[in-house]
């Protein structure tokens, strides 16, 4: 059960049960009870695995993205279009996250790109451990892309580092200009915002400038691209961004390889 996404409809705040009810019977520190300092982030284990993923991806020279949105914003359609446009130029592998079905992975495989489906069952977000288990099962080529399509959810995935290079949030013109204000964690966590379905703008009263301003309010300086996965509008900028980052990843692999083996052809490194 997810108590925050609303997917089960259960209002957790209506069913509170205080952990100290019935246990408040004069707890005193006896000689047997001692204090232990922990001082650890709750997500430290996830972040540790994510760091391993990040290292493995860098070593493989792969540019990895964590794609997030609410259900229906167009992540999979955009991915399909992206893979079709990059065919023969950049290898793309995909990890698909959904509660159930492998329909999205099948749509990706139909383009010719390898895709691995992760079904989270009751879970509402992917975590680093799931990605860690998926990586060895995908063909990852140096200079290529790994697209991780997260579970459709604008709340929970924001805080879970998967080891990606960047988080990308996709929201569509049918979702309202105030989306960034309503889901600030997601829009702050993302390094790139794709405003999708722009081909529908003539039929809507959606104010795209206001939507961008709201994204900037929550995340000053965030890059925003207006795209349409169906018409192809704006995709050139998105594809150029992908290609330039993939090239950088391919190069940084070579550098880290030299460093690991103690070669310093460019002089001493800090």
């Amino acid at each position: 059960m997810c108590t925050t996404c609303g997917c089960s409809g259960d209002g957790a705040t209506l069913h509170t049960h205080h952990a100290d009810d019935g246990h408040d019977d004069a707890l005193t520190l006896t000689p047997d009870v001692r204090h232990v300092s922990i001082e650890q982030d709750i997500l430290s284990r996830n972040d540790h695995i994510a760091a391993h993923n990040r290292h493995d991806l860098a070593h493989a020279g792969v540019f990895a993205l964590n794609l997030m949105s609410s259900p229906g914003a167009g992540k999979t359609t955009l991915l399909v279009k992206t893979i079709e446009q990059l065919a023969g130029r950049l290898p793309v592998a995909v990890i698909e996250g959904d509660q159930q079905t492998s329909r999205d992975a099948e749509r990706i495989r139909a383009t010719g790109a390898p895709a691995l489906q992760i079904n989270t069952g009751k879970g509402c977000h992917l975590d680093a451990r799931m990605v860690q288990e998926a990586l060895p099962r995908l063909p990852l080529q140096r200079g290529g892309l790994l697209m991780i399509e997260n579970v459709g959810n604008l709340v929970c995935p924001a805080a879970f580092d998967l080891g990606e290079a960047h988080k990308v949030v996709i929201f569509s013109v049918t979702e309202g200009e105030d989306k960034p204000l309503k889901y600030p964690d997601m829009f702050r966590a993302a390094d790139l915002v794709l405003l999708n379905k722009c081909d529908l703008l003539p039929y809507l009263e959606f104010d795209a400038d206001l939507a961008e301003a709201n994204a900037q309010r929550v995340h000053p300086g965030v890059r925003v691209m207006r795209v349409s996965a169906t018409s192809g509008e704006g995709l050139d900028e998105w594809l150029a961004w992908l290609k330039s980052h993939a090239e950088l990843c391919a190069q940084s692999h070579d550098h880290s390889h030299e460093h690991l083996h103690g070669h310093h052809p460019h002089g001493t490194h800090a």
């Binding site: 952990a19 232990v36 650890q40 430290s44 709340v155």
Partner: protein, 113 residues
């Protein structure tokens, strides 16, 4: 934020500490939860009870210590309390405050035996 997933992570941290520090039961668990972290404390409390079942923290008293939001203006350096992640600077009103405190989600300490 998915409180059940977080509560399970808290239990993992406590179990690892039990092995490391040599204790068998945690009586009290103290968490620091920032006001800007988007953790719903009552949902976390609810999830904690089910997540700790069968662990060394079963039945433990949970203390959630709130950390208020605090930010600094990148334009005029004014510091102010923050209620949301996108609060504008109350002094100059030109820029959203940069978060200094309030996004914490940490296990601070335990009372154990």
């Amino acid at each position: 934020m998915h409180e059940l997933s977080l509560a399970q992570s808290v239990v993992e941290l406590i179990e690892a500490a039990a092995l490391r520090e040599g204790f068998t039961r945690a009586h009290t668990v103290r968490l620091e939860i920032g006001a800007l972290s988007c953790v719903e404390p009552e949902a976390l409390r609810f999830a904690f009870e089910s997540a700790t079942a069968g662990s060394c923290a079963q039945g433990a008293r949970l203390e959630i210590l709130p950390v208020p939001g605090q930010g600094e203006c990148p334009a005029c350096s004014h510091q102010a309390a923050m209620d949301t992640l996108y609060d504008l600077c109350p002094a100059c009103g030109t820029a959203p405050l940069r978060v200094l405190r309030g996004t914490e989600m940490r296990v601070r300490d335990l009372d154990v035996e």
